[in-house]
């Protein structure tokens, strides 16, 4: 066991996998010599060689197209997209090609690629360094979408994603890279040091895709979250005194529907939290599923707490970012209902 930040845990996952399987290689903008703008690939080129971890042209579509071709050949590329905001030029490649290759070729070809990309807000990154695009991937049949919330999960989920034979969008909450941010930007920031999930094995292990984690058991209301919002929700729960059960989805596709249903069946209330803007966001799907499966147990309307339906505005970081205050308000509403 070692103490790791999420960046170090991700780096360790890549290191372990490069060592384990020569079919794995990494490329992306600035990931080679420099080690990535967030340092996730730091040292990997030096340790594993020039062709195992190298820089790519600024061409997200080209990066993903190349990765798919490599995947079809038999490799397991792990491309990085520098910011999830910049994954959209590759959207057609991901949706029309990576997601569909196995199906349309009846299994002759597939694209076992893992696309890593930092996402999310809370960093004063403005419109194009803060977005959360998971909903536009979750809707796509054939793609898996994974979102860790702590160093331990990040490493285990990344290893599981790389080993997965399907294409995986691996979204890294960049606000959590260095510490478990709970949205209380005006208080002392914490690091991963001392956090139980900051204890990370140095070697190989995986955290299976499609298994949610119960971060906190509780009986009155189920809170569903992923990524940075797990910490925001936890903080809101703790300060509100509501006996909430907090579920960290860890992957939104595959979705751990059993965990969700079991919890809401027990609590009869549900609050869904995500950073992405609300309308048409993944919260809609979660709300619909809970309603369909737990209708007769629901004591209150399912609440969604999400980003406003605006672009991500630089000056209004803390007005936009979903903080514990908004989650607590939703908890209060469902408890009163």
């Amino acid at each position: 066991m070692a103490q790791m930040t999420m960046i170090q845990a991700l780096n360790s996952a890549l290191d372990v996998m490069l060592e384990k399987d020569s079919n794995i290689l990494i490329f992306g903008e600035d990931v080679g010599y420099f080690g990535g703008v967030f340092r996730v690939t730091d040292g990997l080129q030096k340790k594993h060689g020039l062709t195992r971890c190298f820089d790519a042209p600024i061409s997200e579509g080209g990066i993903i197209a190349t990765a798919i071709g490599m995947g079809a050949y038999g490799l397991r590329p792990v491309p990085e997209i520098q910011f999830a905001d910049y994954i959209l030029p590759a959207y057609d490649q991901l949706v029309s090609e990576a997601a569909r290759l196995r199906y349309r070729s009846n299994g002759e070809f597939s694209a076992p690629i893992t696309v890593r990309s930092p996402y999310g807000g809370g960093i004063f990154g403005g419109q194009t360094h803060s977005q959360s695009p998971e909903a536009v991937f979750a809707h796509i049949t054939g793609l898996k979408t994974v979102i860790p919330s702590n160093p331990y999960d990040a490493k285990g989920l990344l290893i599981a994603s790389i080993e997965c034979d399907d294409p995986v969008i691996f979204l890294e909450p960049k606000r959590l890279y260095n510490g478990p941010f709970d949205g209380r930007h005006d208080r002392q920031l914490r690091t991963w040091a001392g956090h139980p999930a900051g204890e990370v094995p140095e070697g190989y292990y995986d955290v299976p895709l499609g298994k949610a984690a119960t971060v906190r058991a509780g009986g009155e209301v189920t809170v569903i979250a992923y990524g940075t919002m797990v910490h925001v929700a936890l903080s809101a729960i703790e300060e509100s005194g509501v006996d909430a059960e907090l579920i960290d989805l860890r992957s939104i596709v595959p979705l751990d529907i059993d965990a969700i249903v079991a919890s809401v069946e027990k609590t009869g209330r549900c609050v869904i939290v995500h950073e992405a803007s609300r309308f048409g966001g993944f919260g809609g799907e979660l709300s619909a599923l809970v309603q369909e499966r737990c209708f007769y147990r629901l004591k209150a309307p399912i609440e969604r707490v999400a980003g406003w339906d605006t672009p991500y505005p630089h000056a209004f970081e803390w007005d936009y970012f979903v903080g514990p205050g908004r989650v607590a308000a939703a908890l209060a509403r469902v408890m009163e209902a």
Binding site: E97, S105, P254, I257
Partner: protein
């Protein structure tokens, strides 16, 4: 605010106003067909640099046209690949096979036996020559007009027919539109309806082969119309930067559905010249000349195999048929334009060459046609026995298979809901 110096390049009052230029083809329905705006190098006239030569030494080539067969059916000049008569006959056979199969399928579509079809009429030399010129470990990333690749490698006809009928024996289990084949063992990558989006996969595949110190190279195809997609540029950029062992081909049949090639940039330069943007060799080749296609492909393959990187080949041809079963080309081009295409028909030209060298004659040709026609007929009959579109289909369970390697709960529940 702004800049009003008279040294600046702000508009001068004596200039005519700006105009928007919209490219218009030289002829439309009702006009006499004309290809006068084009000029072609003579057969044998274009030099053949060493396949390891520096790109800077070859910047003239994209503006020439590599041709081997002349008007009399002679093979001349430095690009003559000097193929054996057996190989020439093999090529002719695969081209004829492709044409006869296309023709038959097109008619079956009219009879409602399938939903869709596309021919490669007039363009058969391309895929056939390249399929034969490349090796078993090489992988092609085809467009929908590359059936000849499979024909040249004796892909079972019945597989094609069953896929086109989407019937119970469809090798793709009804998941894909007719003609969007996948045949890995034959070096034929999975097709999709989206044009262009597999061009970069060829580069990735080639890079993977180089990464593994393997020896297979890749060949990718794109239509001249589709070169306008970002995918084209991205593929060439990666191919150039990483010196990928790949041959990237623009099949320039001069049409993209109804749009003439001027809408893709042909008014201003050649498609081969796009290679110059990437510091890659650009070969412009008579795509209706089996020998020229073969020779250019061999040259590029040699370059790739010796770690000298990628080549862009423009294969200049003419789409003699409509775009697809949904298209009527007489709506936008002179009805008899195909007959006036100066570079002729690839099947006729190879046949003429074989006759010229004394290795073929009309009687053998007729016998060949008869044999292949019968083979097509037999395959269609066999496929029809299984069933045509709507009469037979794979198990509906197949609909839920292969979305992921293993279905998740959604697929299992939905399969159950549908009761299959």
């Amino acid at each position: 605010m702004g800049n009003d110096s008279d040294e600046s390049a702000a508009p001068m009052s004596n200039l005519p106003s700006l105009r928007l230029h919209i490219p218009v083809p030289p002829t439309r329905p009702g006009d006499a067909p004309s290809f006068d705006h084009l000029s072609f190098s003579e057969a044998g006239a274009v030099r053949r640099p060493d396949s390891a030569a520096a790109e800077a030494e070859m910047r003239d080539l994209p503006y020439e046209l590599i041709r081997v067969l002349d008007g009399e059916g002679r093979a001349i000049g430095p690009w003559d690949p000097k193929l054996s008569p057996d190989m020439l006959r093999r090529g002719l056979r695969a081209m004829l096979f492709t044409r006869l199969f296309d023709d038959r399928m097109f008619r079956l579509h009219r009879q409602g036996k399938t939903s869709f079809y596309m021919k490669s009429l007039g363009e058969e030399a391309i895929a056939v020559a390249q399929s034969l010129a490349l090796g078993e470990k090489d992988m092609s990333f085809p467009t929908y007009r590359m059936l000849g690749w499979l024909m040249a490698r004796d892909y079972p006809l019945i597989n094609l027919v069953n896929e086109i009928f989407s019937n119970a024996d469809d090798p793709l289990k009804g998941k894909q539109l007719p003609i969007l084949y996948s045949a890995r063992a034959y070096g034929f990558y999975s097709l999709s309806g989206n044009v262009g989006s597999r061009f970069g996969h060829a580069v990735g595949w080639a890079m993977a082969s180089a990464y593994k110190n393997d020896d297979g190279i890749a060949i990718g195809y794109i239509g001249e119309g589709t070169t306008a997609e970002g995918d084209f540029h991205e593929a060439l950029t990666f191919a150039s930067v990483y010196r990928a062992p790949v041959i990237l081909c623009v099949s320039n049949n001069q049409y993209a559905i109804s749009s003439f090639s001027g809408i893709a940039g042909a008014e201003t330069t050649t498609f081969a010249a796009k290679a110059l943007a990437y510091g890659l060799p650009g070969l412009r080749v008579d795509g209706n000349d089996f020998l020229a296609v073969w020779a250019a492909t061999l040259w590029a393959a040699e370059r790739a195999r010796t770690n000298h990187g990628a080549t862009l080949i423009e294969l200049f041809t003419y789409r003699a048929a409509g775009h697809s079963t949904s298209d009527d080309p007489t709506k936008y081009r002179p009805a008899d334009e195909a007959e006036h295409w100066p570079l002729g028909d690839p099947v006729e030209r190879l046949k003429q060459h074989l006759i010229h060298i004394g290795e073929w004659d009309e009687a053998r040709h007729e016998a060949q046609v008869a044999e292949l026609t019968e083979a097509v007929r037999a395959a269609v009959k066999q496929g029809e026995a299984v069933g045509t579109l709507g009469q037979s289909k794979p198990s509906v369970r197949e609909m839920f298979e292969g979305v992921f390697k293993e279905p998740d709960w959604r697929l299992i529940e939905q399969r159950r809901e549908l009761g299959v």
